[in-house]
């Protein structure tokens, strides 16, 4: 090869290969910032799926790195499902979005999966979720599962309220944010608090003879003059009402 000038023949790798590969093989997680009703949030993902949602800030980023034990780089989500993130944040449900469940106990996965089915603008109690998981009485454990929900907003733990009907706590920025979110979905948290304070847990309609959980879409159809208030399923049953098949209050 004497005299042959091979200038330009060898093009070294562009910068950033190490980071790209680390992200690609899952040695680091990626995150991207999105708008939400509670302000900017960071959505963390890897090739397994979405792994975390947190309010966007530098401190939170550091905390996430410690909590997940993985470094993080700002990245574009996978093309195959990345566009679903925005929609999931708006609708408050994961839809077909893959979730990275690693490190989450089976019970918590079940509780969060049940939570993901609660419709937009409606609320259910910790006890209700526990019942659907098949662990009636595990309301407290469900509460912890909600507090430890790694993917708030997308898995709508803001729709899970205390078993006495009060709105209760919220991990993504405190209870005020839970109110903000419920309000943004048209759920009227003031009314829910009011009912809870009066001990009213169920609402029936005297035209249908059916009783529902507050916020059930059938409950909301009932006009004020036909609404009947109950404190317990027993009270509703004694009055001749049957439980709604949609919100399944018992």
């Amino acid at each position: 090869m004497n005299e042959l000038d091979l200038k330009g023949f060898r093009v070294p790798a562009p910068p950033g290969v190490t980071e790209s590969v680390a992200l690609d093989v899952g040695l680091v997680d990626g995150y991207h910032t999105y708008e939400s009703p509670v302000g900017q949030v960071m959505v963390v993902f890897n090739e397994r799926g979405v792994g975390a949602v947190e309010l966007a800030s530098d401190e939170m980023l550091d905390q996430l790195v410690i909590r997940r034990g993985r470094l993080m780089v700002e990245a574009d989500p996978p093309r195959a499902w990345g566009s679903g993130i925005e929609r999931a944040l708006v609708e408050g449900r994961p839809g077909r979005l893959p979730i990275d469940w690693s490190g989450i106990s089976e019970f918590r996965q079940k509780a969060l999966t049940v939570t993901a089915t609660i419709p937009f603008g409606q609320v259910r109690s910790y006890g209700w979720v526990a019942g659907r998981v098949g662990e009636t009485g595990a309301a407290r454990a469900v509460g912890s599962a909600m507090a430890g929900n790694p993917i708030p907003l997308i898995i709508p733990c803001h729709r899970v309220v205390r078993s006495d009907g009060h709105i209760g706590n919220y991990s993504l920025g405190g209870p005020e944010q839970k109110w903000t979110l419920l309000r943004s979905e048209g759920a009227n948290p003031e009314r829910l608090e009011d009912l809870a304070t009066k001990g009213i847990r169920y609402l029936g309609s005297d035209t249908t003879g059916i009783f529902c959980l507050p916020t059930c879409r059938y409950e909301r159809k009932a006009t004020v003059q036909h609404a009947v208030e109950f404190r317990s399923p027993a009270e509703a049953a004694a009055a001749g009402y049957r439980p709604c098949k949609v919100c399944q209050p018992v």
Binding site: M1, E3, L4, D5, L6, K7, G8, F9, R10, V11, P12, A13, P14, P15, G16, V17, T18, E19, S20, V21, A22, L23, D24, V25, L27, G30, F45, N46, E47, V73, E74, A75, D76, P77, P78, R79, A80, W81, G82
Partner: protein, 178 residues
Amino acid sequence: MAGFSPGMEGLTDRLANDLEAAFPELVAACQDELHAGLRRLASSPTDAADLVQETFYRAYRALAGYPTEQIVSLRLRPWMWTIALNLGRNHLRSRSRRPTLPLDHDQPSWDPEPADSQAWDRRLRFLSPPGRKAVVLRHAAGLDFADIAELLGRPEATVRSDVSRALQKLRTIIEEEK
């Protein structure tokens, strides 16, 4: 050996010991030669970058599934190139299920390719496929003849003459450009 890559002494042991910790070392050690070779074989900067990344992805997946003894006994450079050449042959599969670093924002733009780079794409088109592969693996990737012979499944003597004939031809092509 005429390798361009920084040393990889003991890297197989480190990969076998702690894959997550040692893998970035493998990336650092091999990325330039992989890119240099794949850039010339793929004739496209974007495809080359994707192929480099895909090669490392496949390598990681494979290493994660290998028993320790197998990792320790690997000859890393030719092994990486076996993966790279296979991918090059099948070209790009979809990488759509995995996250990607954004290329259009927050990424410092790197120097454009050397001025002569595209001229080499054109020149290499005049070579026979075996000659092209051999000369790229030798002079862009910096592999030795024995490894190239094994990778291409051809006798070493044939590879040597392929490379020298390819260089001769390139020299003629460059002469004609003047």
